[in-house]
Symmetry: C2
């Protein structure tokens, strides 16, 4: 079976997670965090939840990229994101969200975030990766032996970061124990609605989806693997 | 016909818009701006585009709301957004994006933004409204006599702000001349992809959508009007 539901560790009888953190770094994709965090924010009106945006330092990060091969225009269309905490704070997180984006290709600067994922994962209730954010979790070693997915356009790149990961395609998102991984950018919404349904209840998830006018896509519904030439895997 | 394509004013032969602005205000919905702006940001790697986040002042705004009837939890899950410009700056905008969110229900404080929309609209190439952001454009009078849509859950509320607007339901998004309006939150992605297709080309829009793993929804494809009991309109 390529895509399974969550195991007992993430059943609705477990304590509901309260403290959420999301990593932020230069060149990240905006929707990778604001998409799922918006779903969670609507949930937070009802359930007590707290959020930290976690940077290597408190310096604002930019969603822009300096690689001219990717971004040859002279645009300035890159909002800044202001961290609310750093990787050196004692955050007591229940859930960590790891976004992706072109910034994961950076030759240097990501090591502290990868070390943070490695250090933090054993204390988490859940780890969520979005898009190429799975490459950071893979480099932290926490995906080794686990089923996970990632952006289908960046498939080979990300797979190279995690040779011991059981990469799954086609997949909109994958749940393996307490690790939830989504495919490219927008699929993070489907992961988020499934996460809310699993933890806070199906009715709550449907209410938020109907308010935000989103029809959630099933975990095994993925047209993009074929579009980007990703061969079906046996995981 | 309830939902039409753009008219000549928004054909691909017109000069491509360069200067984009997005309003930000307390209690806005995050995905209302970061969704379409992320689509535009990927476009900005190829085409020269500039973005300003426009507040009444330069003070950071919060996506949180203080109305306990909407948000009874003790959550702190509300990122701040830092404006890069104010409504008093000389911005020379080509495109203005007006997001919505629970903040549009505020009893006061929105008047300066509404006045800004009214003053700015005649100089714009395009006005884009997302979700209940249509209520702010309606209050500015710029939607009078035009076809537009909005969030279906908030339909009656928003309609009350624009008795002279030709509200359209069902509709995922509506284009009337140079005014593009989307339905609830996530529909802003479909509006954004249609906008990129119209201005920058269908192939460019499809490439971005495939990279972000989104299958755009057609303008007349709307299941949420019926879910929220919005009767079909004759506009």
């Amino acid at each position: 079976m390529s895509v399974s539901s969550a195991d007992a560790a993430s059943s609705t009888t477990a304590p509901k997670p309260t403290n959420f953190g999301a990593l932020v770094f230069n060149g990240m994709d905006m929707l990778d965090i604001w998409g799922p965090l918006d779903v969670f924010q609507l949930n937070a009106h009802t359930f007590e939840m707290h959020l930290e945006l976690i940077g290597v330092t408190m310096d604002p990060i930019t969603t822009g990229i300096t690689d001219l091969s990717i971004s040859p225009s002279r645009s300035s269309f890159y909002p800044k994101i202001h961290p609310t905490a750093t990787i050196n704070d004692d955050l007591d997180l229940d859930v960590l969200l790891v976004p992706g984006g072109p910034g994961i290709r950076a030759a240097s600067g990501l090591e502290p975030l990868i070390a943070f994922i490695k250090k933090t994962y054993p204390k988490l209730q859940y780890l969520l990766t979005v898009c190429t954010g799975a490459s950071l979790a893979a480099r932290a070693g926490v995906l080794d032996g686990r089923r996970a997915t990632t952006n289908k356009r960046a498939w080979e790149l990300v797979r190279g970061f995690g040779p011991e990961v059981k990469w799954v395609a086609p997949a909109r998102y994958v749940v393996d124990g307490n690790i939830w991984s989504s495919s490219g950018v927008t699929s993070s919404l489907d992961l988020a609605y499934a996460f809310v349904a699993e933890i806070y209840g199906k009715d709550q998830s449907t209410l938020i989806a109907n308010t935000m006018e989103h029809t959630p896509i099933a975990p095994d519904e993925d047209v993009f693997a074929e579009i980007w030439g990703v061969a079906p895997t046996s995981n």
